[in-house]
C-alpha cells in the first residue's frame, strides 16, 4: 500500500529501491508503473511549480486558456486589473468542467451544467435565480470559489503550484535563475508567443521525454544523425568533423542544479569562427553578441540586453550561451542557432511541456516564441524553421517522439522493468577557469550529469 511517509509500492518495493544513487542507475519500472505515476501526480505535479502558459497567450482582460497541471485541468486567466490567475477548472457545485474550450475571453465563466458563474480569479459570482439560493446557506460564496493555485510570472512565463506555503518560485529556480535570466529576461519588452501551442499525444511516460529534456547531449549523435548527413549541420567534405559527424557540436559547458533544472551551453566562439569567419578573441562580449546575435535578437537589440544583465552574464551569453535546457519537472526550452543553406543563421526559440496523461501517455505541447522586438520578417523565418524542425512534424523531434513509446513499453516487462537506465558518464572537470555562474558546471564533451540531476530531484521529492 502507498503510505504517505515512506512511499512503498504494493509489492513492497520502496521508491528508493528504484534508484541507485551510488551507481547512478534508475530501474525502468519507474518509467511506467501506475503507482509511481500516482505518487508523481501528488508529490511532484501537485506540489512543485509547473509551467502552464505564456502571458502573451492571454493579453487582454478576461482572456483565458485551458491547461493541464499534472492530472488536473486548470484555467489560466487574466482579470480586469491585468493580474494572471490559475484556478482549478472544476465547478465547486457538481464537478463539471467549468470550461470545455481551449481558450476564450469572458468576465464570467459560466458552468453549463447548473449555471454557476465564476470570475476570472475564481471568485464565485452566483447561481441562477439568486433569491432561491441554489448554492444553499451552509457555505459562503468565498468557500464556493474555484480552487486557486499560487501563480508566478517569470519573463512572461506563467507557472503555478498548489503548494501555497511552499518554496518561492525564485527558490525553486535556485542556481538556474542566473542563467535563465539571460534567456527569458534579456530584453525590456520581453517575448511573445507566435501563436497557440502545437499539441499532440505520445503513448509514452512523461519522464522518458523529460529526462532527455534535461540536456541530454549524447542522443544527438545517433538519433539525430541525419542533421549531419543532409540536414542543417551537414558539413562540406574536408571541413571540421566532416560528413555525418556531429561530434564537434557536443563540446561546450553543461550546468545542472539541485532542483533538476539544467542546460547545455554551446561554444559560441567556435560558431562565430565558423559562421562569420571573425576571430572571437579580438571581439568584446557585446561585439560578439552583435556579430552573431542570439536567436530572436538583432545587433540593434544588443545594447538593451547588455544594459539589463551583469557583465558576467553577458560574458557567458557571448561565450557559452545556454542552447537547450529544462524547467524541472516537465518543461524544455531551445534557443537554437540554425545555419541555413545560404550561409545565414536563423534562430529558433521553442518551449515544450510534456504533460502527463497517465503512466503510458503524455501530451507534447510546443510553443514557438520570439522577442516582441524581433523584426517581423525574422519572426516569420523563425516560425517557419521551428515548425519544420521541431514539434509535431519537426524533422528533428519526430525521431525523439518515436523513441519514448518503446522505452515505455519495455518498462512493463517482468524482467525488463528491473533493467536500469544508466547515467554514468560523469564530468571530472569542475567549473571552467573563471566561470562566473552558480550551480554545478562541467566542461568539455557532453555527459550525463544533467540528466542525473533530473532523477536526483525526482527522488528527493518522491520520498519527501
Amino acid at each position: 500500500m502507498l503510505t504517505p511517509a515512506q512511499p512503498v509500492l504494493s509489492d513492497g518495493t520502496r521508491i528508493s529501491d528504484l534508484i541507485n544513487l551510488e551507481t547512478r542507475e534508475v530501474q525502468l519500472r519507474a518509467l511506467s508503473d501506475k503507482e509511481v505515476y500516482e505518487l508523481e501526480m501528488e508529490r511532484i505535479f501537485a506540489r512543485t511549480w509547473i509551467f502552464l502558459a505564456h502571458e502573451t497567450e492571454i493579453p487582454d482582460a478576461g482572456d483565458f486558456v485551458q491547461r493541464d497541471m499534472g492530472s488536473d485541468s486548470v484555467l489560466v486567466t487574466r482579470d480586469k486589473s491585468g493580474e494572471v490567475h490559475v484556478v482549478l477548472n472544476v465547478c465547486t457545485h457538481r464537478g463539471m468542467k467549468v470550461s470545455t474550450l481551449d481558450s476564450g475571453n469572458t468576465q464570467a465563466h459560466l458552468c453549463i451544467y447548473h449555471g454557476w458563474a465564476f470570475r476570472p480569479n475564481g471568485d464565485f459570482i452566483g447561481a441562477p435565480v439568486e433569491k432561491e439560493c441554489m448554492h444553499g446557506k451552509l457555505m459562503s460564496k468565498q468557500q464556493l470559489s474555484l480552487k486557486k493555485a499560487r501563480v508566478a510570472l517569470y519573463g512572461g512565463l506563467v507557472f503555478a503550484t498548489w503548494n501555497i506555503e511552499g518554496p518561492s518560485f525564485d527558490e525553486f529556480l535556485g542556481d538556474a535563475k542566473w542563467y535563465f535570466d539571460t534567456l527569458w529576461c534579456r530584453t525590456t519588452r520581453g517575448m511573445e508567443v507566435l501563436g497557440p501551442p502545437q499539441r499532440f499525444m505520445i503513448r509514452a511516460n512523461w519522464k522518458a521525454a523529460a529526462e532527455q529534456g534535461a540536456s541530454d547531449g549524447f542522443h544527438t549523435l545517433t538519433l539525430h544523425r541525419w542533421l549531419g548527413e543532409i540536414g542543417p549541420y551537414a558539413k562540406k567534405p574536408g571541413t571540421e568533423g566532416g560528413g555525418a559527424d556531429l561530434t564537434p557540436e557536443m563540446y561546450g559547458v553543461e550546468v545542472w542544479t539541485d532542483h533538476g533544472h539544467t542546460m547545455r551551453c554551446i561554444d559560441l566562439d567556435r560558431k562565430i569562427r565558423r559562421i562569420t569567419g571573425q576571430d572571437p578573441s579580438s571581439l568584446t562580449p557585446a561585439q560578439k553578441l552583435a556579430v552573431l546575435p542570439p536567436p530572436g535578437l538583432t545587433p540593434e537589440m544588443i545594447p538593451d540586453v547588455v544594459s539589463r544583465l551583469t557583465p558576467e552574464q553577458i560574458r557567458i551569453m557571448s561565450s557559452n550561451p545556454p542552447q537547450v535546457g529544462n524547467f524541472w519537472p516537465n518543461g524544455l526550452f531551445e534557443f537554437i542557432y540554425l545555419p541555413t543553406a545560404d550561409g545565414k543563421v536563423v534562430g529558433a526559440m521553442a518551449l515544450h511541456a510534456y504533460v502527463p496523461m497517465g503512466p503510458d501517455k503524455f501530451m507534447f505541447m510546443n510553443w514557438i516564441l520570439a522577442e516582441k522586438d524581433t523584426p517581423p520578417e525574422q519572426k516569420a523565418a523563425m516560425l517557419r524553421i521551428s515548425c519544420q524542425l521541431l514539434g509535431t512534424s519537426g524533422m528533428v523531434e519526430q525521431d525523439d517522439s518515436d523513441t519514448w513509446p518503446h522505452q515505455t513499453i519495455v518498462a512493463k516487462g517482468a524482467v525488463s522493468k528491473h533493467i536500469t537506465m544508466k547515467y554514468q558518464a560523469m564530468y571530472e572537470t569542475g567549473k571552467p577557469e573563471g566561470w562566473p555562474g552558480p550551480g554545478h558546471v562541467g566542461s568539455g564533451f557532453t555527459k550525463d550529469d544533467t540528466n542525473w540531476s533530473f532523477w536526483q530531484y525526482w527522488h528527493e521529492l518522491m520520498i519527501a
Partner: protein, 189 residues
C-alpha cells in the same frame, strides 16, 4: 501586417458556379491524379511524389482549437501550425527519408492507407489552375501496435495543369483533431 508574414498565402476562394461536374473528363483526370498521389505516398515512392510538387508550392497544416459554435471561424490557426513548408523544405523532408540512413521517425516506415473521397473541383481565375477539395482518411500503423493512428482531414489543394498531367501548387490540410493522435507528422497528408 505581421499576420501576412506569419500566415500562408490564402487559398483561392471556392466559387460554386465554377464547379467542374463530377464524372466529367476533367474531373476524372483530377481524381486519377489524387488516387495516383495517394498510391505513391502509401508505397513510400517519395521521389516520384516529389516530382508532382510545383516549384512554388506552399504546404501547410493549421492548428485547430475547440471554440464555441459562434466562433467557428477561430478554430483554424495559421500562425503556429503543424506544418508550413515550401518546395525546399518539402524536398528536405523527402531526402531525409530517401537519402539518409537515420530518419528514425519513419524508419522502419509506417504502413499508411490514404482513402481519398468527397472530391470537388472548381475552376479558378487562372485558366490552368483548379481548386480541389477532398476528404482524406489516413490510417497509420506503426511497428507491432494493434491500433491505428487515424488522421481524418479536409484537404484544400490547387492543382496546376502541367503538360499532360498536373502539379500540386498549393495544399492546406485541416485536421479534425485539436490534439493530434499520432506521435509525429513524419508522413505527408
Amino acid at each position: 501586417m505581421i499576420a501576412n508574414l506569419l500566415e500562408p498565402t490564402p487559398l483561392p476562394v471556392t466559387v460554386r458556379a465554377n464547379r467542374v461536374a463530377v464524372g466529367s473528363p476533367l474531373y476524372n483526370e483530377i481524381l486519377e491524379f489524387l488516387y495516383d498521389e495517394a498510391e505513391m505516398l502509401d508505397n513510400v515512392r517519395l521521389g516520384e511524389w516529389a516530382e508532382l510538387l510545383a516549384p512554388d508550392i506552399e504546404y501547410n497544416v493549421p492548428l485547430r482549437l475547440t471554440k464555441p459554435m459562434r466562433q467557428q471561424g477561430g478554430t483554424v490557426i495559421r500562425t503556429v501550425q503543424h506544418m508550413h513548408d515550401n518546395h525546399a523544405s518539402l524536398m528536405l523532408r523527402v531526402r531525409r527519408i530517401t537519402d539518409t540512413r537515420s530518419a528514425w521517425g519513419e524508419d522502419p516506415p509506417s504502413r499508411t492507407r490514404r482513402m481519398v473521397s468527397n472530391v470537388r473541383v472548381y475552376k479558378t481565375d487562372k485558366p490552368d489552375e483548379y481548386k480541389v477539395q477532398s476528404y482524406l482518411m489516413l490510417t497509420r500503423s506503426r511497428f507491432d501496435f494493434d491500433y491505428f493512428d487515424l488522421l481524418p482531414c479536409d484537404r484544400h489543394d490547387v492543382l496546376r495543369r502541367q503538360g499532360g498531367s498536373f502539379q500540386l501548387a498549393r495544399r492546406e490540410v485541416i485536421i479534425d483533431q485539436s490534439v493530434i493522435g499520432t506521435p509525429n507528422l513524419g508522413i505527408f497528408l
